[in-house]
């Protein structure tokens, strides 16, 4: 990179952690032998949990619908193996709380029989709505980790007349190489999927952003994209968090997504490379999303690399397949910068799991936090231009509103600030805490408002009732008085007559 590019084109935000992607990224893709049992959580995506439509004891085929989407934003779940549904119950969720959530357990009969699929010969002859419908039915969600239902984004892109599809091959998280693997080994599928997505949203061009630390992926994708002038491969500087939507959009198009707007409102839509490959599978082959490529990496792993595994496979089985050199000191779902810590390995592989990292003791060690020396490293690193040290000091003092004034809500939790902090202050922990508190406060406020409204309604109703009653009583009294007076008058009249 020339001096000019170093100074002017290199992004000023972000961090450059040691990427640890190799040697795992260079190991050929391995396929996990089908596990004896899979656990398909009903909630592997943003939005409402899927609703089971199978019964315990029912025979299912590979790719058969297990649970249907529920609500506007949701995704269906399909069986990753052929076999028998043995349970619909709770398994540990891939969440730091370690709480349980609902899942369907399928016992593998190892026949590997697929359901009847409905491949499409020419997706470009289909209406965009039909592509969205088929993508939704295949349970495709954002595989980069966001797990937002892909078809919902298609509809949004179509509605807002998006012109540019950005295909996210950034994969800026250290250790991870599953997207890299998809681009190297399945470049044709990615490009085809991207073109189908373009058709679905009506985009004129696709920009594929790939970090320049993946030259093999860039080469493979260039070959695959060569016949299609509308698909452009764009290497981008390797800089965390390049794979974040907002940062990639800015790097590739120079556009900024306004703070309260969606990317589609500036005419772009971002889809991950693995999502594009899944769209290709869903449309061209009619296959729902039942497996994915996951990176197994970290110092405690004996043979790290990328594994094609059925969804619902337990993390323990994936780790056993790759072998463990030592007992992991930390287990992470996702990358080290934004990943979720797992407290044990009896947790199923979900759609959004791009990697499972088993760190050895050395990698897991983070020095104890010290006082803030106001060095400003976090400010320089923040890709959103926030002031992490100011927000953290407010949150530490319990002044959440002051933190909100510093635009806490714009924080994307990328972890750059906490990574660069020389005092190792867990800044993201502060922000997550504050965001949680604020959300709880918001919910409590809504509840209080609702209660107050009900109480006020009740008082008004009681008052109205009382008023009506008293009015009624007064009327009756008046009537009675009138009747009495009439009777008295009548009596008098008769008396007088007599």
């Amino acid at each position: 990179m020339g001096l000019f590019e170093r100074i002017f084109k290199h992004p000023s935000w972000g961090v450059h952690p040691d990427d640890h992607k190799r040697p795992a990224a260079d190991v050929p893709l391995r396929i996990l032998p089908p596990p004896a049992r899979v656990y398909m959580p009903l909630h592997q995506h943003v939005g409402g949990a899927a609703r089971p439509i199978v019964l315990v004891g029912q025979q299912v085929l590979k790719g058969q619908l297990l649970a249907e989407a529920q609500g506007n934003i949701s995704a269906p779940i399909h069986s990753p193996v052929a076999g028998t549904v043995t349970a619909i119950g709770e398994v540990t969720a891939p969440h730091p709380s370690g709480l349980a959530f609902a899942a369907i357990t399928v016992e593998n009969d190892f026949t590997n029989r697929w359901i009847e699929t409905d491949p499409v010969e020419d997706p470009f002859a289909l209406a965009p709505e039909e592509i969205a419908r088929r993508t939704a039915a295949a349970g495709v969600v954002g595989l980069g980790g966001a797990t937002f239902p892909a078809a919902v984004k298609f509809a949004l892109g179509k509605r807002l007349a998006v012109t540019t599809l950005i295909v996210n091959g950034g994969e800026c998280e250290p250790y991870l190489s599953s997207d890299d693997c998809v681009m190297r080994d399945f470049a044709d599928q990615v490009i085809d999927g991207a073109r189908i997505v373009m058709h679905a949203i009506g985009a004129k061009e696709a920009l594929v952003g790939i970090e320049d630390n993946k030259p093999e992926a860039i080469a493979a994708m260039r070959i695959a994209a060569a016949p299609f002038s509308e698909v452009k491969i764009r290497p981008v500087p390797a800089r965390y968090p390049m794979g974040s939507d907002k940062q990639l959009i800015q790097t590739l198009t120079g556009k900024e997504v306004p703070a309260d707007a969606r990317a589609a409102e500036v005419g772009v839509l971002v889809h991950n490379v693995s999502t594009c490959a899944a769209v290709h599978q869903a449309i061209r082959h009619g296959r729902p999303l039942v497996e994915r490529i996951v990176t197994i990496n970290g110092g405690a792993v004996d043979k790290p690399g990328n594994i094609m595994a059925p969804l619902g496979t337990l993390v323990d089985e994936l780790l056993a397949f790759c072998g463990l050199k030592a007992r992991p000191a930390r287990l992470i779902l996702g990358g080290p910068m934004m990943g979720t810590p797992l407290l044990h390995g009896r947790i199923p592989l979900v759609k959004g799991a791009s990697g499972i990292l088993a760190f050895d003791a050395r990698e897991a060690t983070i020095p104890p936090a010290g006082p803030c020396i106001r060095c400003g490293s976090c400010t320089k690193a923040c890709p959103m231009g926030l002031l992490p040290l100011e927000m953290a000091s407010r949150i530490r003092a319990g002044e959440l509103d002051a933190a909100v004034d510093f635009k806490l809500s714009d924080c994307i939790s990328c972890g750059c600030c906490a990574y660069v902090c020389p005092s190792h202050i867990p800044l993201v922990q502060y922000f997550s805490h504050a965001k949680g508190e604020l959300a709880a406060r918001e919910r409590a406020k809504l509840r209080t408002d609702a209660t107050r409204r009900l109480a006020e309604d009740r008082i008004a109703r009681l008052e109205r009732d009382a008023k009506e009653k008293s009015a009624l009583a007064a009327r009756r009294k008046a009537e009675r008085a009138a009747a009495k007076a009439a009777a008295a008058a009548a009596e008098q009249a008769t008396g007088a007559a007599a």
Binding site: R327, M337, L343, A364, Y419, P422
Partner: protein, 357 residues
Amino acid sequence: MSQTIGIAVAAPHAATSNSAGRVMATVMAALAPATLFGFWLYGWPAVYLWFITVAAAMLGEAFCLRLQGRQATPALLDGSAVLTGWLLAISLPPWAPWWIGAFGGLFATVLGKQVFGGLGQNLFNPAMVARVALLISFPVQMTAWVAPLPLFSAGAPGAIEGLSILLKGLPPALDAVSSATTLGFAKTEMSRGVDLMASLPNAPALSWLGQRPGSLGETAAWLIAAGGVAMIFLRIISWHIPLAMLAGIALPAAIANAVDPAHYLGATAHVLSGGAMLGAFFIATDYVTSPNTARGQLVFGAGCGLLTWVIRTFAGYPEGVAFAVLLMNSLTPIIDTYIQPRIYGRDRKGVPLEPVK
């Protein structure tokens, strides 16, 4: 695996190898050449004074930490107390008596830093707080300058004699070496009615190399600048404060000097005198007491420079770096409030941008 693994902590699960201690150590390394040069230039008394000041600063820090019921060792190991003592020591007259260093070092960490809550909490630069306290309390000792008398040169005090200078003050026999700084000399002459045209030819020479009277470690301008530039390249500091501060001194000095050379010293004299270089690269750049953003740092640095020139030129004291830095320190929270980075997707006022297709 039956037991749980690790603990549920928030991401990131990776951290920089940098640490507060490493930052302090790098600053000290950058400061070392100028300090060693100062030791050579002013001999044994300077070496003793440096040790006493640093030791007193550490003692003050340890004392306060113990009062708080905290372990003193880990906090002392981060090097911030050593650095505070070090910066104070090299801003003192090199042959100042021992109690100047001892009092100053204690003052710096106890009243300049720990009473605010320790590392990262102080509003003012602790070394400059102590220096100003000393200057106001002991003006005679704090303005007793000596001409350079390098180690092992003829007439330079030996190790024992140096100790006696430290403990008993300047012996009459060595009074001849006492001297004035350029700034002090110019101010004195001006107050006598002698303008600069007449007085400057007799003034102490200016020197990039540091062969001039001045504080222990502030005279070797090029060594300080080299250390500062090294810190910029190592990304310990950014260029904004040093450049803005030096420009803030040099520009008004150059303009005033061009207009009336008989009453205003030139830019070179200002930049190469007193603590300008040391202040620009090592004092004003203190993380804790300077603004956080690049633009804020430009304002801060320019303010430090301008105030330094104003104090040197119009106020009673010949040198103004310490006062200027402290005054600007007090403005740091205000600068940080009004000058904030633009947030992605918002304009400078924090209003969301209009969507552009």
